[in-house]
């Protein structure tokens, strides 16, 4: 079974530029997550999709970050314009929707963003 795919793996941009990250979840997984992991910190959830609807985006800086999951499969996270403090690893995860109290999340390798 293929894992969660992310691209690009690395990106360097200058502040005020725009950037986009792509994620393809495990086939059949209904739920998709984007996390931000700043150096020295644990991952922080930015947005959670259930199929193509947003479940939680309470920690997404909506003035500059946007995300979409068209057709309920792959997803794109965009930052426009980027700030220095956006330098981080952006992790995508997916989980099945089998009911119950928790469905395991599977993580992709992440995209390391450096903003200069």
């Amino acid at each position: 079974e293929a894992g969660v795919a992310q691209s690009p793996r690395y990106k360097i941009i200058e502040k005020r530029q725009s950037v986009a990250f792509w994620c393809n979840p495990i086939s059949g997984h209904a739920t998709l997550y984007w996390y931000q992991q700043i150096l020295g910190q644990g991952p922080k959830l930015l947005i959670q999709f259930q199929n193509n609807g947003v479940v939680d985006d309470s920690q997404l800086p909506k003035d500059r970050f946007s995300a979409e999951r068209l057709k309920g499969v792959d997803s794109t996270l965009k930052i426009q314009p980027a700030k220095l403090e956006d330098s981080a690893v952006y992790l995508c995860a997916s989980s099945p929707n089998r009911g119950g109290v928790y469905n395991e999340q599977f993580f992709g390798p992440g995209t390391r963003l450096t903003v200069l």
């Binding site: 969660v4 020295g40 992790l91 928790y102 999340q105 993580f107 992709g108 390798p109």
Partner: protein, 112 residues
């Protein structure tokens, strides 16, 4: 609000020595707790999880963790560390809607 504290930022052990990584959580109800490992350039991999039942849970790669409600702790242990265990370890708790709340992580170095 739910939170996770990992008091140790860095830990160094010798290969073959035992290991304990500390995790304390804050959660209003019965927590669902997790330990993940992250190797350089890799995504997070689930080591083990606790939902209910036996408070000592076994995971992959020879790791185990013990849930202690009285201490709000979920410490990770391994009796004999291998050089390949060098990585960053994250404790996490669920925050509803399948959401994970992570601690800041503990970076483990292993000396030969």
């Amino acid at each position: 609000a739910q939170s996770v504290t990992q008091p140790d930022i860095h830990i160094t052990v010798s290969e073959g020595a035992s290991l304990e990584l500390r995790c304390n959580y804050s959660y209003g109800a019965t927590p669902y707790l997790f330990w993940y490992v992250q190797s350089p350039g890799q995504g997070l991999q689930l080591l083990l999880k606790y939902f209910s039942g036996d408070t000592l849970v076994q995971g992959i790669k020879g790791f185990e963790a013990e849930f202690k409600r009285s201490q709000s702790s979920f410490n990770l242990r391994k009796p004999s560390v291998h050089w390949s265990d060098a990585a960053e370890y994250f404790c996490a708790v669920t925050g509803g809607y399948n959401k994970l709340i992570f601690g800041a992580g503990t970076r483990l170095a292993v000396h030969p």
